[in-house]
C-alpha cells in the first residue's frame, strides 16, 4: 500500500500542460491589465493627440483588454487552483524541472519589463518630459511586473527550502 503511494507519479505531459496554460493566462492577463490601466490614464489625462480625427482609439483598446481579461483571468485563477491541487497530491513535484523553468522564464520577463520601465523613466527624466501621465504609466508597469516578480521569486525560494 505504501509502495503503491510512493510509485504514484504524474504524467510529465499533464504537468507541462498545467503550467504552460497557467503562465500563458498569466501573461495575457498581465499585459491586458496594463493596457486597460494605460487607457484610463490616457482618457483622464489626455495629451491632445489621441482623439484627432473624431475617432477614439482608447475605447477600442478598453473593450479589447476587458474581453481579454474576462476570458484569461478566470482561467489563470482556475489553473492556479489546479496546480495547487496537483502539488498537494504530489508534493515532491514542487521542485520539478518544468515548474522551475517556467518560473525562471517568468522572472526573466518580469525583470526585463522592470528594467525597460526604469530605463524609460530615467530617459524621460533626463529629457525633462516627466509628466503625471507618464509617471502613472511607469507606476502601472512597475507595479504589475513587481507583483508577479515578487510572488514567483517567493514561490521559487519556497520550493528550494
Amino acid at each position: 500500500m505504501l509502495g503503491l503511494v510512493l510509485m504514484k507519479t504524474p504524467s510529465k505531459a499533464r504537468e507541462a500542460f498545467l503550467y504552460l496554460l497557467q503562465f500563458l493566462a498569466l501573461y495575457v492577463s498581465a499585459v491586458s491589465l496594463g493596457t486597460l490601466l494605460f487607457q484610463f490614464v490616457n482618457r483622464w489625462l489626455p495629451d491632445g493627440f489621441e482623439t484627432y480625427g473624431g475617432y477614439d482609439p482608447t475605447l477600442q483598446a478598453i473593450r479589447f483588454s476587458v474581453s481579454a481579461l474576462i476570458v484569461t483571468f478566470p482561467l489563470f485563477l482556475w489553473m492556479s487552483r489546479s496546480v495547487f491541487q496537483f502539488l498537494k497530491e504530489y508534493p515532491d513535484r514542487r521542485s520539478s524541472g518544468i515548474r522551475q523553468w517556467l518560473t525562471y522564464i517568468t522572472l526573466f520577463f518580469a525583470a526585463g519589463t522592470i528594467m525597460g520601465d526604469l530605463i524609460s523613466l530615467v530617459n524621460n527624466f533626463l529629457n525633462g518630459e516627466l509628466t503625471l501621465r507618464f509617471g502613472l504609466k511607469v507606476l502601472i508597469v512597475g507595479a504589475i511586473a513587481s507583483l508577479i516578480f515578487g510572488y514567483y521569486l517567493w514561490d521559487l525560494k519556497k520550493a528550494e527550502l
Binding site: 492577463s29 491589465l33 486597460l36 490601466l37 487607457q39 484610463f40 482618457r43 489626455p46 491632445g48 482623439t51 484627432y52 480625427g53 473624431g54 475617432y55 475605447l59 478598453i62 473593450r63 483588454s65 476587458v66 481579461l69 474576462i70 483571468f73 485563477l77 492556479s80 495547487f84 507583483l147 510572488y151 517567493w154 519556497k158
Partner: protein, 160 residues
C-alpha cells in the same frame, strides 16, 4: 504551511481585486454594446461626410470646371472622385446634399449619439491658395442626436 497558503491566497486575492475593479471600470467607460454600435455607426457617418467634402473640392477643381455637382450620385459617378459611400450605413438612405450657392453647399446626416465637445477634432483651417481666404472644413465629428447639417464651401485651387 498555513502562512504559505495564505500568501498564495493573498497574491490571488490582490490580483483578483485589481482585475475586477479594472474590468468593472472598463465596462462602465466602454459603454453598452448597443451604445458602442451606435458610436461606430456615427464614426462611419463622420468619415463618409469627410470623404464627400474632399471629393466635392476635387470635383469643383478638376478640369477647371468650377461648378458643384447637382447630386451626390453625380459626384459618386465622377471617375476622379473617391467616395466610398453616399448612403447612411444604417438606413441606406443617401445623405442630404443641397447646393446653396455658387461655392457653398450643405451636407446633412442623421446621427444617433451626442458628441458636442470634440474640440480636439477641430480641423485646421487651410489656405485655399497662397494669400487667399482661409478654408475651413466643418467639424463633422461634433453632432447632436438627430439630423445635423453642416455648411461648407469649395474654393478654387491655385493654378500652377
Amino acid at each position: 504551511m498555513g502562512s504559505q497558503k495564505s500568501r498564495v491566497v493573498g497574491f490571488l486575492a490582490i490580483s483578483t481585486f485589481i482585475v475586477v475593479a479594472a474590468v468593472a471600470l472598463g465596462l462602465y467607460v466602454g459603454g453598452s454594446p448597443s451604445m458602442a454600435r451606435r458610436m461606430r455607426l456615427d464614426e462611419q457617418r463622420t468619415n463618409d461626410l469627410r470623404q464627400i467634402y474632399s471629393a466635392l473640392e476635387q470635383y469643383y477643381n478638376v478640369e477647371a470646371r468650377y461648378t458643384l455637382p447637382p447630386t451626390l450620385e453625380a459626384l459618386r459617378l465622377e471617375p476622379t472622385s473617391y467616395v466610398t459611400s453616399i448612403l447612411d450605413p444604417q438606413s441606406r438612405q443617401p445623405y442630404v446634399y443641397e447646393v446653396t450657392g455658387l461655392e457653398s453647399y450643405k451636407l446633412c446626416a442623421m446621427f444617433e449619439t451626442e458628441a458636442t465637445n470634440n474640440s480636439l477634432n477641430e480641423p485646421f483651417p487651410v489656405f485655399a491658395r497662397p494669400g487667399g481666404p482661409l478654408l475651413k472644413q466643418p467639424n463633422f465629428s461634433n453632432h447632436r442626436i438627430g439630423q445635423n447639417c453642416f455648411e461648407a464651401n469649395v474654393q478654387e485651387w491655385p493654378r500652377s
